[in-house]
């Protein structure tokens, strides 16, 4: 096996793993509110989201022209840097998942790439002004815009319908939620599924395995679509709990308002040229739907921790991506060491998560995601667990 083929294989595998973490990280964006209000049973919700993600991935196979949209100078990016950037993004995605923190997978990927390029090509490879205009500013605007819209919508619903969260009205809102949540899942599949296809295709082109200017190959579309779908189906229950239960106690009218707002914001931003992070839009909508309903219990402490997580995403992924690039840049042995480190790190994070696991069965039982059992507020246990 030649070195190029080895690097390309590593990048493809790592990109698919990133795609998987992207899926389970963002499962909550589409379905957390539907799961929390009981509009969909947890396993049905993630199955629906997964199927729509795969369909979305197949619908949109137009490869992005650049990996990063100008954040790093694509001319200096090597497959090794992409590999290191993906490693940084995966490790950060897993860490935030462990703490149940919703954070943007795109920002993690950009962060990892920025770190890898800084180490591999120096500061000239990174466009810092684009970081401000494409990441920092949208990160500030997304929760504000979504929060305002969802807050207004929720306020109106409760103004017109005083018994909005009681039957029979609540049932109608739950049915509406099925549609609004599905829209987010489909939109997510078309945007994020295509992102990994773009990374793999660009690597294949750089390495000379594919003609420049051609679209993704069929196996790339299939594997990338399946990776994000499997990730979505696996649920990311820790993040699902935070989004559905941790920020606001959500009733079905709020769920409908939050999901509709998120869908509208995602579609508006992808069609009007000002990209907003899906995760930050969805979290902002949920927060807004809590502020819009009088007497709703908004847990600002969790919201504050979530914002800290967003601020940390870029530098933390950059740090991990930079360290990976420094080691991987030394040659084939370095690549193997980084890959082994990725496997070991992922296994360790997974092992820690098993101490206080969150699954489809207990996602709605508590509001906090904890690392050690017994931390946080007391969790109501289901009878069979005690018995």
């Amino acid at each position: 096996m030649t070195t190029t083929l080895f690097v390309v294989t590593l990048v493809v595998v790592t990109a698919l793993v990133f795609d998987f973490t992207n899926g389970f990280h963002d499962s909550a964006n589409a379905m957390a509110t539907s799961v929390a209000t009981g509009a969909l049973r947890p396993r049905v919700a993630v199955l629906l989201a997964a199927v729509l993600n795969v369909i979305g991935a197949f619908l949109s196979t137009e490869v992005a022209k650049t990996i990063s949209g100008g954040i790093v100078n694509d001319a200096v990016v090597t497959p090794t840097m992409i590999f290191a950037g993906l490693v940084g993004a995966i490790l950060w995605n897993l860490t935030t998942w462990l703490f149940g923190m919703p954070s943007s997978s795109s920002h993690a990927l950009f962060g990892g790439l920025i770190g890898a390029v800084l180490v591999g090509a120096g500061t000239a490879g990174v466009n810092f002004s684009v970081i401000v205009s494409k990441i920092v500013l949208p990160a500030l605007m997304a929760p504000l815009v979504a929060g305002l819209a969802a807050g207004l919508a929720t306020f109106l619903v409760y103004k017109w319908l005083h018994r909005a969260d009681q039957e029979p009205a609540a049932g109608w809102f739950r049915r509406g939620q099925t549609v609004s949540g599905s829209m987010i899942a489909l939109a997510h599949g078309t945007s994020d599924g295509q992102k990994t296809m773009g990374v793999i295709t660009l690597v294949l082109i750089t390495a000379g395995y594919q003609e420049s200017g051609t679209g993704p190959q069929f196996w790339v579309i299939v594997t990338a679509g399946l990776a994000i779908g499997l990730g979505t189906y696996s649920g990311g229950w820790r993040i699902m709990r935070t989004m559905g239960k941790g920020i606001v106690e959500i009733k079905s009218p709020q769920g409908l308002a939050a999901e509709t707002t998120s869908a509208a914001a995602i579609l508006a931003s992808s069609h009007m040229g000002f990209g907003l992070s899906t995760t930050q839009v969805c979290a902002g909508s949920i927060l807004g739907s809590g502020v819009g309903r009088k007497l709703a219990d908004v847990r600002w402490g969790t919201a504050r921790r979530m914002v800290y997580g967003w601020l940390l995403t870029l530098p933390a992924a950059a740090l991990a991506g930079g360290a990976s690039a420094a080691i991987a840049g030394t040659g084939t042995l370095g690549l193997v060491i980084v890959f082994a480190g990725l496997v070991a790190g992922s296994a360790a994070i997974y092992a820690i998560s098993r101490r206080a696991p969150v699954s489809a069965d207990n996602v709605n039982d508590a509001r906090d995601v904890v690392i050690n059992p017994g931390e946080g507020e007391s969790t109501p246990r289901s009878p069979e667990v005690i018995g």
Binding site: A169, A187, A257
Partner: protein
Amino acid sequence: MKIDWSSLALVAVTTVVAAVSIVGIFALGVAALTHAQTTTGAGRSAGLARVAGFACLGVAGLIALYGIYLIVPIFH
């Protein structure tokens, strides 16, 4: 540094207007349907409310279809 303030404003306004109108139409529909369901007897007012309610949900559904049209690239 170039920040595209006009498209940012456009996205913000579109999001707010779209979210409030879709949720508002849906809520009106639910209000009418709840009225039809809780009004005793199958009087004219209950029937009218039911028709109006489903009409509102239908409009919300059409907007959702337009959303799918926007999501799927092969449509445009």
